[in-house]
């Protein structure tokens, strides 16, 4: 592990003292992009870094991050926890906790490059975990996913200075304070091979550069990069509380991840319908639909009123099965999409899109509330990790 990371934090980690100043809700403008090879073919992180760097002016150096899928084939059935620690004590406390509830197959420092511009780095470690048998027995009514989520929330809420920022299988989030292209180089993402990448450059207006506040927001294999503001945050948060989700991450992006987790993983809604729950058609449009469809959407909207995401947003939600690009209902934030062969691309700006995909078969501007959905058709290629 990097020695510098063990220096007593107080001298250079102002954030620790400002936790109380973190707003529950984050307001930021941003750049987002994503690419998916539906055939499972792998690509290294270089391309997505260049794409997000192309939108440099959309972020202000206070946050950048990436999500990558298919990167841990040798640990693919284990939950990959990425943790950031403010100090060694937090690390020790967390590790002893992890050991009580999880089998730890492997743990290591997350490899990083020495980059001048990336300052105030927390301690970054990853763990490959599965719930212990006794825990499964105790929570016989819960799935492994449920147990993992519960523990992520527990660590984030109760262990001061520890933060789980990625917890899915065969995927990982990489994020921090800095411009996204620097964060990408810091995490040496060109050394990872993934079939699905998303990226985010952040322009926060109200947080004191906290590493955990950068995007993507990751829970289980969901990762969300988000440009915009969730004006319905308070509502979504209180709605999610009914289902046991605790918002602990001081970012409105969190509710987006939990909502998709609730709708798709727990309630088994098809992705399209989950998108219609978070960005439903207007009542006046529902009225005009043919009876069966009308009844379905009416019922969906009545039941999931608390899941409606309001406010201006464009998001890319990625998961083991693929990628979703979505705008708010009246498209108050930019997003363009393109396809070429088995690859799907989305980005805030067309220039970044064309950088990833210079000669698209199709390029379009999705309407507000109309999702762009990419599905992984075959299993990703197996290659060994760098």
């Amino acid at each position: 592990m990097d020695d510098a990371q063990t220096i007593p934090d107080d001298q250079w980690r102002p954030d620790r003292h400002q936790k109380s100043q973190r707003d529950e809700k984050d307001q930021s403008g941003c750049a987002i992009c994503g690419l998916l090879n539906e055939d499972g073919s792998l690509v290294d992180g270089g391309l997505i870094i260049r794409a997000i760097a192309n939108m440099h002016d959309r972020s202000n150096g206070l946050g950048g991050g990436f999500a990558a899928y298919g990167i841990y084939p040798q640990w693919k059935s284990w939950y990959a926890f990425h943790l950031m620690f403010d100090h060694d004590a937090a690390r020790r406390q967390t590790e002893s906790y992890l050991e009580t509830v999880f089998q730890v197959a492997h743990q290591e420092a997350i490899p990083t490059a020495h980059l001048e511009v990336i300052r105030q780095r927390p301690i970054l470690v990853r763990y490959f975990l599965l719930p212990k048998e006794e825990l499964r027995a105790r929570h016989y009514d819960l799935t492994d996913d449920d147990i993992v989520m519960m523990n992520v929330m527990h660590i984030n809420k109760t262990i001061d200075g520890a933060f789980v920022f990625s917890s899915g299988r065969n995927m990982g989030c990489f994020k921090g304070v800095g411009y996204p292209e620097d964060i990408g180089r810091f995490y040496r993402l060109d050394e990872y091979q993934a079939h699905l990448w998303t990226a985010h450059g952040r322009f926060p207006t109200n947080t004191t550069g906290w590493w955990g506040g950068a995007h993507p927001f990751g829970i289980l294999d969901w990762a969300v990069v988000h440009n915009g503001e969730v004006s319905s945050y308070g509502k979504n948060r209180s709605y999610l509380a009914n289902f046991g989700y605790q918002c602990t991450m001081h970012t409105d992006t969190e509710v987006i991840g939990y909502l998709f987790d609730l709708l798709v993983r727990k309630h088994h809604l098809p992705i399209e319908m989950a998108c219609q729950a978070v960005a439903p058609p207007l009542w006046s449009r529902i009225e005009q639909m043919p009876p069966a469809e009308r009844q379905l959407l009416q019922t969906l909207r009545i039941i999931y009123g608390g899941a409606l995401l309001n406010g201006p947003f464009s998001i890319v939600v990625s998961h083991a099965g693929g990628l979703i690009g979505l705008n708010d209902r009246i498209k108050l934030r930019p997003m363009v999409a393109a396809r070429r062969g088995a690859s799907l691309y989305v980005a805030s700006e067309e220039a970044a899109l064309r950088l990833m995909c210079p000669s698209p078969d199709l390029i379009w501007r999705p309407a507000g509330g109309v999702p762009v959905i990419g599905r992984l058709q075959s299993q990703p290629q197996e290659v060994s990790v760098a």
Partner: protein
């Protein structure tokens, strides 16, 4: 004996330069304040009887009348205020319980006035409701946890969930329970028609359903109260929803009393009670002495209506309102209506009206939080009641967690009520809280319907503007969204219960 210790509340003066001696005031005051002295050919007034309803002044064609608070000052005393002294005089005179109409009029802090709303700046564009759709549609009723789908062999999905009956509101404002009997035919009729025109609901109160109002039943919630006036299977089945009234904010813990004078032939037929008898509803439902009894009544009503109507339980906001509301939801209530201590009434003992119950702001926040903690908030709807004076109060209630609100007093004011608080006398000069045919005809139902519709429209437009300002285009995104509220000059404890931050945080 002359009631010489009972002092006038108001002093009425007539500007001799303006008065044209037309006697309009004489003909308008049902309290016989104004008299025309034939010999002197002068209109004179006996201020002692004036209740301050402004009827005469509103109709005086020359604005000759002014009405002031009687300035008969006692020696200043912060403890023994004039109101308290006068109440003792009155009670010493009559020996009874002092009655009042309308809601609590004490100067306790109104927490709505200590909460402010958010608006978008830079990071989030506001939405202009004149240019963009803005949705206020609200569904009240029981919601399942999740949507169930059928998937056929090709993976095509279709709806499997059969949704419990819902009320669809075009705007989250309903008219609260006001019974025919306590208010006039025209007032009831106007409420029903305005509700229908606006796509919302009016509540019949415990007075039964007049046969003339049946065409509006699709927009009526009928009440089953402890007196069971007017309740039969037909009454339950024609309505849009049924409300079990456990309590009322103006008088938690006590029943109702419609004086015999108000029970004319029509009221008697509608209530199914003999003419000119007092209509007394008992304090409790004598078949509900516990929560499991409530469950039986809820399911009794559901059975009687073949599970086609949402059942609402209305409770007054009392100290342990959160637990009671949670019990009601678990007992099967699809909607819980909570009536705060400022809620109005046709008649209540003043001492109860002014001293029993808690503010709706705190009750609502507590109920919303409690149901959420128990993971059942999304299952039932909450309707808040108890004095919403403006669209701002309404939108703040929604942000605190209400699905919709009931307005009573505001609706009466829209029809002309001047809050004179004398509803229990049956002499409402505005033709609202009376059955006297000379007075009831003062309320033109067409005019009142129009005024009520205008009020709903105006408030709805204002709500849309405020929502747009917050960058929200569907009301469900504000519901329980306390992020959009901040408190001013509230204690930490209050903020805590309200679940909001202080302004500046």
């Amino acid at each position: 004996m002359r009631k010489w210790l009972v002092e006038p509340d108001f002093i009425l003066t007539r500007d001799p330069d303006r008065c044209i001696n037309c006697q309009v005031c004489v003909r308008q005051c049902a309290n016989d304040v104004h008299v025309h002295d034939e010999e002197a050919d002068l209109v004179q007034s006996d201020s002692e009887k004036c209740v301050g309803c402004h009827r005469c002044a509103a109709l005086c064609p020359t604005q000759a009348i002014s009405i002031e608070k009687a300035s008969l000052e006692f020696r200043p005393n912060g403890n023994w205020t004039a109101d308290r002294i006068r109440a003792v005089y009155k009670q010493a005179e009559g020996g009874g319980i002092l009655l009042s109409g309308m809601g609590n009029d004490q100067t306790l802090p109104v927490l709505w006035d200590h909460m402010v709303l958010n608006a978008s700046q830079v990071t989030n564009p506001s939405i202009d409701p004149l240019r963009e759709p803005m949705e206020l549609v609200t569904y009240l009723g029981r919601k399942p946890d999740r949507l169930e789908l059928n998937r056929d062999a090709n993976g095509k999905v279709s709806l499997a969930t059969e949704l419990a009956p819902q009320l669809r509101l075009e705007t989250p404002i309903m008219f609260s329970a006001m019974s025919y009997g306590s208010i006039s035919y025209n007032a009831s009729f106007s409420l029903a028609r305005a509700a229908q025109a606006a796509g919302t609901f009016a509540n019949t109160g415990e007075g039964g359903l007049h046969k003339d109002f049946r065409p509006y039943a699709k927009n009526l919630i009928v009440q089953v109260a402890s007196g069971r006036f007017g309740v039969d299977p037909d009454y339950l089945n024609v309505a849009a929803a049924v409300e079990i009234k456990i309590g009322q904010g103006a008088k938690p813990g006590i029943g109702g009393h419609l004086p015999a004078e108000k029970v004319d032939a029509q009221v008697s037929a509608t209530r199914m009670i003999p003419e000119r008898t007092d209509a007394l509803s008992p304090a409790p439902h004598h078949d509900i002495y516990s929560i499991e009894d409530l469950r039986q009544l809820i399911y009794g009503i559901k059975e009687a209506t073949q599970y086609t109507k949402p059942v609402c339980v209305k409770i007054s906001a009392v100290h342990n309102v959160a637990a009671i509301a949670s019990g009601a939801v678990r007992a099967g209530a699809d909607i819980v209506a909570i009536d705060g201590f400022r809620g109005g009434t046709g008649a209540a003992p003043t001492v109860i009206r002014d001293n029993v119950g808690i503010p709706i702001e705190l009750a609502l926040a507590a109920v919303d939080a409690r149901l959420r903690d128990e993971g059942i908030r999304h299952q039932a709807s909450i309707v808040a009641a108890g004095s919403f004076r403006s669209s701002a109060d309404v939108i703040k209630a929604i942000a605190l967690g209400a699905d919709a609100v009931y307005i009573g007093t505001a609706a009466l004011v829209a029809m002309g009520c001047h809050l004179c608080q004398k509803c229990y006398t049956g002499k409402c000069n505005w033709g609202i809280a009376t059955q006297d045919p000379m007075l009831t005809k003062r309320l033109n139902a067409d005019v009142a319907t129009r005024r009520l519709s205008n009020l709903l429209r105006g408030w709805s437009l204002e709500i849309k503007e405020m929502l747009g300002g917050m960058g929200i285009n569907a009301i469900e995104s504000l519901r329980g969204n306390r992020e959009h509220l901040r408190g001013i000059a509230l204690s930490d404890r209050d903020l805590n219960i309200l679940g909001i931050k202080a302004a500046g945080e």
